[in-house]
Amino acid sequence: MIRRLMLVACFGAASLSAQLQLYWVQGNYEAPLSQQYGFGTCAVCNSVDVQFRLKNTGANPTPLTILSVDSPFSIVNAPQLPQSVPVNGAVDFTVRFAPTQPVSSSATLVADGVSLELIGTGRPGSTISVSDGGGGAAALAGGAAIDFGSVVRGATVARQVAITNPAQAAIQHVAVSGNPAFQIKAGPLPLSLPATIEVDFSPTSDGSLAGVLEIDNCAIPLTGVGLDPAFPQPAIEVDIASAASSEQGSLKVNLPAAAQSSGTGQVQIEFHPSSPNFNADNGIVFLSTGTQSAAFTVNPGDTAGHFGNDDSVAFQTGTTAGDLVFTLQLGQITATKTLTIAPSIVGVDSSQAQRTSAGLDLVIDAFDNTRSASTMTFTFFDQSGATLTPGAITVNSLAAFQQYFYASNEGGVFALHAFFPVTGNPAQVATVKVQIVNSAGTASTAKLPFTTP
């Protein structure tokens, strides 16, 4: 029973494979092939390309899992494998014959369930060897390209191409075609053999570039890659009135020499707070993006990066002591600049002191870049400027400050709201002076006048 099942499976596989049929293709014409195809003769340094087609002539879709041939034949535009070929569907591909020796060659083209013998004859041709001028010339296989590697725009790489042909006394035709980055240096024609010609590659654009070296009937591919010149080492310039919290400054990317290529770079702010226990400070951002990174561009001739239409990008320093590390990346080049924000006493930004019917209401917007504020002292003055007894009222708010900063992602900013109930007439109180202590010292406000709304 198992043997019968295996037999059925084998028949199934055979029937699927038999669905593919090979054709020779030229333009709109195709002809079925059965056992053999001849490429004819081809000069040793040259190649011949022929297009073939695999068609599914069966009644079911069939898999294509293999398509191969041995040297000196090769498949130059191999289809994707595996794939399913639909009924009446076709897969086109090209086989190249590139003889390396002046002999007859054969190889078998194999696909799923079909095969074809390919034959071709190499006839004597020129022997090409290539060196970079430093000796050690290497023979160039038939159909192979002369590769110049990667070359920076503006630079030139040369290859010495030595040509020998025992059956031929001179070359009648030498030229290069394709991308103008490839140029030839050769003596006057006809060129007696053996001869050496120089082919130069001087890219004026970036990316992969291709050309062809023509030696009589022999066409040799030329390949190379043009590279943008490296950027000059950029430097970060920070312009800020004061290296302190709650400041806005600007950053420039300067190049010591004019750029010779274009590119996009990025600057980032990495913040290292003075205490690793601090929460994030969402105030530390580039203003144009609202984030801690900003992109810039560099064009040929530029000596500075462009942030949109501007030559600089603005940022704000937040309200936490620490190091703002600006990092620049342009291609493979990086640069950094550190702006240190020193711990400072509490900075009072605004205040509002109001009398209400129940007492005195005080609101202070401020920042503590050390996040260590502890005691606050309130001293009230009467209309004549005399201190109201009992004098300074001190409140230890360390725990309240810590609780607030622990929950905040807005750096060291805080709004303090203090209310002082008064049983007498609050109008007798004219001003208040507030002192706040942190690890950097004591900040003191001016006398804040009370107003009556």
Binding site: S245, S246, E247, Q248, N282, G283, V285, F286, L287, S288, T289, G290, T291, A314, Q316, T317, G318, T319, G347, D349, S350, G359, D365, A366, F367, M376, F378, F380, D382, L388, T389, P390, I393, V395, S397, A400, F401, Q403, Y404, S408, E410, G411, V413, F414, A415, L416, H417, A418, F419, F420, P421, V422, T423, G424, N425, Q428, V429
Partner: protein, 264 residues
């Protein structure tokens, strides 16, 4: 005697003055997507918080404020929370933090804490194009009006809709605010007028002094200014970063407002 009484009172209360801490709210501003956002922080350090949501046509905020959406007027409280929403005529309105004027209907809304008051201000009374509303003061609201090419300040009784007094605005703002009418962006505060031109912010104090603050290098810019906080106005100029201008008794100082970025 009075002094002694107050002193005694302080002695009694000093132990219960318990301070509270929170994030300092500067005001509300409009981001690049035309959404209103709360702005925390201090001068030079602005932190944008979550958007109120929806496309805001106009807004004014100073401790509390109003936001005009297409068909709604939002009442924003001191913490930046939306306290109330009420239907409103479609399109833009002229706003102060406490009042809204709808040019199409000539209705002036005074927004109260719980209850609103509306009054009709007839076109004959206005006799021009309303450019801005000032802060409510003693039952009146200042209304900046272009009559022809001249700017006038009308003080309108919010109960009756009648004009209590009117005066022609002199100086550069008086000359420039209405050329052409309805194009300029004007803010009226209790102590100064501010007019945004293409490249400058013109400031005229109630004391009569004038000065100019450069805000843009683009002579074709059409900036808008809005009351954004107790001490702040925002300058919006298409294609440029928004600016925050701090108004103190002595001066005005410019800062740049961060883009809304990736924060929620």
């Amino acid at each position: 005697m009075h002094r002694a009484f107050v002193t005694l009172a302080f002695c009694g209360i000093c132990a219960i003055a318990q301070p509270k801490f929170g994030a300092p709210l500067i005001g509300v501003a409009r981001d690049g997507q035309k959404q209103i956002r709360l702005v925390d922080g201090v001068a030079g350090n602005f932190v944008l918080r979550g958007a109120i949501g929806g496309k805001a046509l106009n807004w004014a905020f100073a401790g509390r404020g109003l936001v005009k959406m297409d068909r709604e007027l939002l009442v924003v409280g001191p913490t930046g929370a939306v306290m109330r929403r009420r239907g409103a005529p479609s399109g833009d309105a002229v706003l102060s933090p406490e009042a809204a004027f709808f040019p199409a209907t000539g209705v002036l809304w005074q927004i109260g804490a719980d209850k609103d008051r509306t009054v009709k201000v007839t076109p004959e009374v206005v006799a021009g194009t309303v450019m801005a509303l000032g802060p409510l003061d003693a039952g009146s609201v200042p209304m900046a009006v272009c009559r022809g090419d001249q700017l006038w300040l009308l003080v309108v009784n919010v109960t009756t809709g009648a004009i209590r007094r009117e005066l022609s605005v002199g100086g550069a703002i008086g000359d420039m605010a209405c050329r052409p009418a309805g194009v300029a962006s004007l803010v009226v505060t209790s102590d100064r007028l501010l007019l945004a031109t293409a490249q400058e912010l013109l400031v005229q104090t109630t004391g009569g002094s004038e000065h100019r603050i450069p805000i843009s290098g683009n002579p074709a810019a059409r900036p808008e200014i809005h009351r954004t906080g107790e001490q702040w106005i925002e300058v919006e100029s298409p294609g440029s970063m928004a600016l925050m201008v701090r108004l103190t008794a002595e001066s005005e100082k410019l800062y740049r407002l961060p883009a809304s970025g990736a924060r929620p």
